[in-house]
Subunit: 360 residues, 2 copies
Amino acid sequence: MINKDLLALPEKAGKVVKDGEFPFAAVGLSHGHIYGMCAGLISAGATLRYVYDDDPSLVAAFLERYPDTPVAKSLDEILSDKSIKLVASADIPSKRCSLGIKVMEAGKDYFADKAPLVTLEQLDMARNAVRRTGKKYAVYYGERLGSECGIFAGTLIERGAIGRVINVIGMGPHKLANGEKRGEWFYKRETQGGILIDIGSHQIEQFLHYTGNNRATVTSSRIGNYNHKEFPEFDDFGDCNLLGANGATGYFRVDWFTPLGVKPFGDGRTVIVGTDGYIELRKYTDIGVEDIGNNMVIATNDGVEKLNVNGKIGLPYFGQLILDCLEGTERAMTQEHAFHSAELSIIAQNAAFDCKRMIR
Amino acid sequence: MINKDLLALPEKAGKVVKDGEFPFAAVGLSHGHIYGMCAGLISAGATLRYVYDDDPSLVAAFLERYPDTPVAKSLDEILSDKSIKLVASADIPSKRCSLGIKVMEAGKDYFADKAPLVTLEQLDMARNAVRRTGKKYAVYYGERLGSECGIFAGTLIERGAIGRVINVIGMGPHKLANGEKRGEWFYKRETQGGILIDIGSHQIEQFLHYTGNNRATVTSSRIGNYNHKEFPEFDDFGDCNLLGANGATGYFRVDWFTPLGVKPFGDGRTVIVGTDGYIELRKYTDIGVEDIGNNMVIATNDGVEKLNVNGKIGLPYFGQLILDCLEGTERAMTQEHAFHSAELSIIAQNAAFDCKRMIR
């Protein structure tokens, strides 16, 4: 039996500020992730003060979810409102960087959906802007930050439950036809970035976090378009090997082949092997058993436990981010962790071996 | 719902010859796999006619399991007995090749435990001997051939259940302290070969089989000794990327970090992604649920099914091998598949990046 103290759940994440203490705006609604980002911030006490997008249909859809949100007339209206502490955005990936720089130059912190940027030039500009303005370019790597089992796995590793982490395998399959209409930008390399940037960045962030690395190397990467010839610039497959500065190894596979029979958007998994045990996360479904998320298995020298932590952990990231913005700290994530995850995903994509060229 | 015909179980494998029609000998008992090899052959109708090993204690242990087996006085006694059709061996890996060549030169087929050989020089000698003698150098890659769910996964792929296979991830964790006393040879590179040869060869064989490739390339590989400094030549970790000639991709991790809390020797998994679905194998345990083997999940556009095929499929490999030996066919496995799996495992091991050098 694994010691109960080792598996003790932390206090569930709650509000960290009072109503009105942390007003924010949602700008750039192209990806549905904006809803998770707003919901997370609101659950931690933030106040949704404005919404804005160039595209009125995206604003209209947003208002169905958050009907009382004031619609800004322009981005400038938001940037010039001194009360706004943070701008959250799930704009088209290629546009996230220029928006972020404007936001930070207006003296506000920025909170981008992953992938936060799609080229190394954008990364340089963003890094410079952070240095210049002293503001944050935070990134919502939701496959860990928005996953209660993903958060709890980190806690277990910190408690030493599985010893030194030596390997992380991530599987990030996704469903392409998910009832969600995707914009043209989604299928173009220039605007979406490519699979290793778009959904690979989640995986790289997890590798760095679980292995305790602030530096890693992409040792090999591959992309492919195996079955979507109608979208010639689209990658339906990608994989990548990572090597952390501390000697930990990683591999991940991302793909758009989740079949329609699977209820959630994908059967995301993480397998973390340590010197004294391992953890498996079944993030969105216990496939073939129950379509509930946040399933985890922990195996150590003392035993094996299968847990479900759905609704039990909350998402502490959002409260930590709010406090970081208010107090200038880095509890939620360091700026460099956010940027290095993006950097490695861009390197992985740019250097990838393209399997498409060998498929007959 | 997935169509029932698609998931229909094949007839369970049974005997293919009558008593006495296929006499064989067990020679070289260093690895416990010899028991699975003998049991499989016997279940398919073969007759265990002799046992032999230089080490009397290994023979004594064998006789506890198979008390009526005649003990040969020497290897020559077996090789000169014209009635013996096949010699099965789980000798020390580095000795498997020279034994095999003797067996084939004596006009008998050879059946080696994996890994069948540990150097490219041995491979060349074995290939030449097969050409010269016309006999078989068959290999027991037990993590598929001895796994009912592993066999059935191949059947499902042949039936087109998941479309074109594009990626295979194999996890082959093993328990080091498994109640089994391991000889010194096990910890030495020269005699055991290294982790990518010893247990990686299973994974490579599975990749080739499930992706339908007869040729593949090792695109990167790593080994490491993270936590067993007392065995300086031992690898406790290895991983490898494969690229099939048809464009399918693969990754596997093998390790000796299965914690004692896990009942079976390891929580072996295979995840096979196709263009129309995926299959996950939980070969030896449904971890955290039940310690029964041969669990599988199949997800397609029509639904998701979780199956347990333990005791329902049998191990058709053994009967196929016996018929191949008698009839000169290659139903069980082609010679080149057996050799190329070994070849890639040796290349992966020889070319591996050694993570040990970066661990502090």
